[in-house]
């Protein structure tokens, strides 16, 4: 007699669901919804009770939070079926609801319910997991899961999910952005029973203490998730008593099928059946970083991340990532758990059901090439940022396609992009007394911009990455947690935006002073997008999202300036000006838009970053002059940019700003005349470029990427015929 409602084992239940869905294309194989159709108010009542239970649990337990990750709003409470399908969830990072299914599938596959080594699955048991191969999005995301047992039968699961502030990565604190294998990712555990009787074991707490740098914060967050899950569990058990187990189980399944139909109907009503391409490339410069310890990983990479979306006539979506770069010794390999989070982030853009659940997984199908970063053959590769790669192709790639399709259909109010822009500045070191410390500044995770839309500019600093409840947090909080880094400045940066008819959000700028590091301080900065920017393709003549930017100044005269009462620069722009004037001096100046290398800081070092510069929409000359005037009045753009980029001439006499219509028309005409003068027909460009490509006269990283990707048929089909090159062209590239 199995534990799952109806007497099935967990594996039987999961297999039954999978079979039914594969045969029918419907959630749980349901072709009719008798509970919903028979008594709609009753099912709706259960539905809203599920949502409020999840939200209540979250709103309560978050008060126990000790770490910036939950302040940024990432915490999510999920309610799932016995087979692991999320039915409802609270606010929080939506992706976590998607990855839970994999965790339960793993437990089913390995027979956790019948495991004599752990005593099976019982009421009060706590299961934890942070392995993207087996059930979590990345190793920073620990899922804390309680079985919902009613009268000795498993009727569901409740899980709390959160990003922990440090996951014990070998090479850097916070998140293992640089990590060639799973062995350097840090703490990685498959689904494990970590507690009983609603208490985590001492062994689990010792694991968090020994295997992560910020064990106490992580333990507190673990307790927070457990409390949240317990609160939700109590409410769910009351519901099961009220509605009955059979109804509870059936209603959950019908909610998933109902929402699948809602998504399909929305796609047919709002989108256009089509094939759209929104590829990306990512540059990682690790050759100088990995050194002798990891020679096999000491390589610079340009990785190809295709993102083809097909809206099919039956209302389903095919997400095609074929033609991608090979799997590699970086942290950027995507396993199933990473996928589930990454593609869920776009849930609010693609599917608008009243709550988050796994219905969308029955609407989407994926195509990948085995052996690529999108479908690694090896299970031991670094994967901490795999979910981030999936987020990026979702936000900067597929998401653009969803929105363009809605624009074509006329639903302009639904046209805004959701680019997941974030950065984390982390430090690690020892105080003068030898005491180690580590910290991660989450300011730049919880201040993401709202993406540009078909009717408005991007909005800076408006939400936490992937969820609406972000709070940038106080500078004092981050200074307390990262004692060596003193905040010099936070603010928006004039002119730092992707320009367009509707401007991308204005860039956000931060500055730090390294203050008395004592023993050692290592600074690291990473985020998205890096290197080359958000995506290859901009929106309708607008520019793709800009990469983040880091300026590192070592051996400065900052202490001297402070002693004299001279203000330190508040941005990299001011720092560059001060360096040019000679007011500020630095022994070493490094600027970078890719991974900022681990950097040994010394007292008086200055660091400036600029980030969150999302894509624009439409071309700058289509921006209404009145909008440019508003930007000038607010100081978001300078008069020089207004004129040279937007072709808007405005005067600011007498304290008011007024657009000179005649001068603006002339300026815009001049810009177009310059375009006409400099541009050539694409056919002519093709002839010139083809020669370069044919000879392999390309940057080293690009050549290496093409050589690798040409092993895949989809990439070959797009590349070779376009340039009219022979089949063995890839073999000729050195």
């Amino acid at each position: 007699m199995g534990i799952v409602f109806g007497g099935r084992t967990l594996k039987q239940a999961v297999d039954e669901r999978d079979r039914a869905e594969a045969e029918s294309g419907h959630s749980y194989g349901l072709r009719s919804l008798p509970l919903l159709d028979g008594d709609p108010p009753k099912l709706q009542r259960l539905y809203w009770k599920l949502i409020t239970a999840a939200q209540y649990g979250r709103d309560t337990c978050i008060l126990l939070s000790t770490s910036p990750a939950s302040i940024s709003g990432e915490l999510l409470l999920t309610i799932a079926t016995p087979e692991g399908n999320a039915v409802a969830a609270s606010w929080g990072l939506t992706g976590h609801a998607g990855a839970l299914k994999l965790m339960i599938s793993t437990m089913a596959e390995f027979g956790y319910d019948e495991d004599p080594g752990t005593g099976g699955i019982n009421d009060g048991d706590i299961f934890s997991c942070n392995d993207p191969v087996y059930g979590s999005s990345q190793n920073n995301d620990i899922y804390t899961c309680l079985p919902l047992i009613h009268r000795d039968q498993l009727v569901g699961w409740v899980a709390g999910s959160l990003h922990i502030v440090d996951a014990g990565g070998a090479l850097m604190p916070g998140m293992a952005i640089i990590s060639p294998t799973t062995y350097t990712d840090g703490l990685v555990v498959p689904p494990m029973k970590t507690g009983q009787n609603f208490q985590q074991s001492k062994a689990w707490e010792l694991t968090l203490t020994r295997r992560t740098r910020l064990g106490q914060l992580n333990i507190m967050d673990d307790k927070m998730k457990l409390v949240g899950a317990m609160i939700v569990r109590e409410r769910l058990l009351q519901m099961v008593d009220e509605f009955g187990s059979e109804y509870f189980i059936g209603a959950a399944q019908e909610i998933l099928e109902r929402d699948r139909r809602i998504i399909v109907d929305q796609i047919k009503a709002w989108q256009v059946p089509w094939t759209s391409h929104h590829p990306r490339v990512r540059v990682l410069q690790l050759a100088d970083v990995m050194g002798k310890a990891f020679p096999a990983a000491a390589t610079d990479h340009m990785m190809h991340e295709p993102a083809t979306c097909q809206f099919e006539l039956d209302g389903t979506v095919v997400q095609d990532f074929r033609g991608a770069s090979s799997e590699n010794l970086t942290s950027h390999n995507i396993y199933e758990g990473g996928y589930n989070l990454g593609l869920y982030i776009d849930y609010p853009v693609l599917a608008m059901t009243p709550t988050i659940n796994s219905a969308i997984q029955n609407v989407t199908r994926r195509k990948t090439d085995p052996g690529t970063i999108f479908n690694p053959n090896r299970t031991d590769l670094g994967s901490t940022l795999g979910c981030v790669v999936a987020l990026d192709v979702g936000g900067y790639g597929l998401g653009h396609g969803y929105v363009q399709s809605r624009f074509a259909r006329g639903f302009l109010e639904q046209c805004w992009i959701d680019e997941i822009m974030w950065s984390i500045a982390s430090t690690e070191g020892t105080f003068a007394n030898g005491e180690p410390y580590a910290a991660a500044d989450w300011s730049l995770v919880s201040n993401s911009p709202m993406g540009v839309g078909a009717w408005r500019d991007g909005i800076a600093c408006s939400l936490g990455t992937g969820n609406p409840t972000g709070d940038i947090g106080e500078a004092e909080d981050h200074e307390f947690l990262g004692p060596v880094m003193v905040h010099l400045a936070r603010g928006l940066l004039q002119d730092a935006a992707a320009h367009g008819k509707y401007r991308g959000a204005l860039g956000f700028n931060m500055g730090w002073l390294v203050d008395n590091p004592g023993g050692t301080t290592v600074f690291h900065f990473g985020g998205s997008p890096m290197g080359v920017g958000g995506s290859i393709v901009g929106l309708f003549g607008g520019y793709p999202a800009l990469p983040y930017y880091v300026l590192l100044l070592r051996g400065t005269n900052a202490r001297e300036l402070i002693a004299k009462g001279i203000p330190l620069p508040a941005s990299f722009v001011e720092a560059r000006e001060a360096l040019a004037e000679g007011t500020l001096t630095a022994r070493e100046v490094t600027d970078s838009a890719t991974e900022a290398p681990d950097w040994q800081g010394e007292d008086g070092d200055l660091i400036y970053v600029a980030t969150e510069m999302g894509s624009s929409w439409g071309e700058p000359l289509d921006r209404a002059p009145e909008r440019v005037k508003d930007d000038l009045v607010q100081g978001w753009i300078s008069p020089a940019v207004a004129e040279t980029v937007y072709g808007v001439v405005a005067s600011t006499e007498g304290g008011t700003c007024a657009v000179d219509a005649e001068a603006t028309a002339a300026a815009r005409a001049a810009i177009k005349a310059k375009r006409k003068e400099r541009a050539i027909p694409v056919k002519e460009w093709w002839g010139q470029e083809r020669e370069r490509v044919r000879k392999g006269d390309l940057p080293d990283l690009t050549r290496a990427m093409y050589k690798d990707c040409l092993k895949r048929q989809t990439f070959r089909d797009g590349f070779l015929p376009f340039w009219h090159l022979p089949d063995d062209y890839g073999d000729t590239l050195r």
Partner: protein, 194 residues
């Protein structure tokens, strides 16, 4: 509660404001939160767009701020700019019929990326695609050197009109939903050899 197409019709006046970016934010938010969308939105949209273009070809689909797929004989369905410039068969990437300016030098990048934060020209190039007629900037790519221009979207117009709009197009054919871009570059290659 489908949220699909069972709502009240959006007035043409409000739709015009939405298209122009002038609909007040509160009204846009109400549209976003509307339980059901208006089922005639696509037709209202086409009406407004058709009124605004200076030419008479029937618009089948808007594909960007300036570009439309329109009916034209004998080709059948072509891409056309609102200025009137025609790009040819919509199954061919319109970028191949446009003009291009590539920003590779620091000087050229600084014209647009004025703060100095820019894609690294040693790694990628910034391509701007213009309409040969009006020189509106129709597309931008930040692409690796040698990366083929991206064919951003190829719609299944027959499927859209027949299955999702319930108004089949008179010239349906299984040949429409095909990417024919390589036929152009093959032709160019042939001319190159000549």
């Amino acid at each position: 509660m489908t949220g699909a197409g069972g709502g009240d019709r959006l007035s043409k006046e409000k739709m015009r404001l939405l298209v122009d970016g002038d609909l007040p934010a509160h009204d846009v938010k109400q549209l976003i939160h509307a339980k059901d969308k208006d089922p005639d939105r696509f037709w209202t949209y086409l009406e407004i767009l058709q009124e605004r273009v200076p030419w008479s070809n029937k618009i089948l689909l808007r594909i960007s701020e300036h570009l439309y797929i329109v009916r034209k004989e004998p080709e059948g369905r072509i891409v056309k700019c609102d200025c009137g410039h025609e790009f040819g068969d919509y199954r061919v990437n319109w970028k191949l019929s446009s003009e291009i300016f590539v920003r590779r030098s620091r000087e050229a990048l600084d014209e647009i990326y004025t703060t100095g934060i820019a894609p690294d020209p040693a790694i990628v190039e910034v391509r701007e695609y213009y309409c040969p007629g009006c020189h509106a900037q129709l597309g931008v790519e930040v692409a690796p050197h040698g990366y083929p221009p991206v064919f951003e979207a190829l719609p299944d117009l027959d499927g859209l009109y027949r299955d999702w709009l319930g108004a089949p197009l008179p010239d349906e054919s299984p040949n429409w939903y095909q990417d024919r871009s390589t036929s152009v570059t093959k032709n160019w290659a042939g001319q190159d050899r000549d």
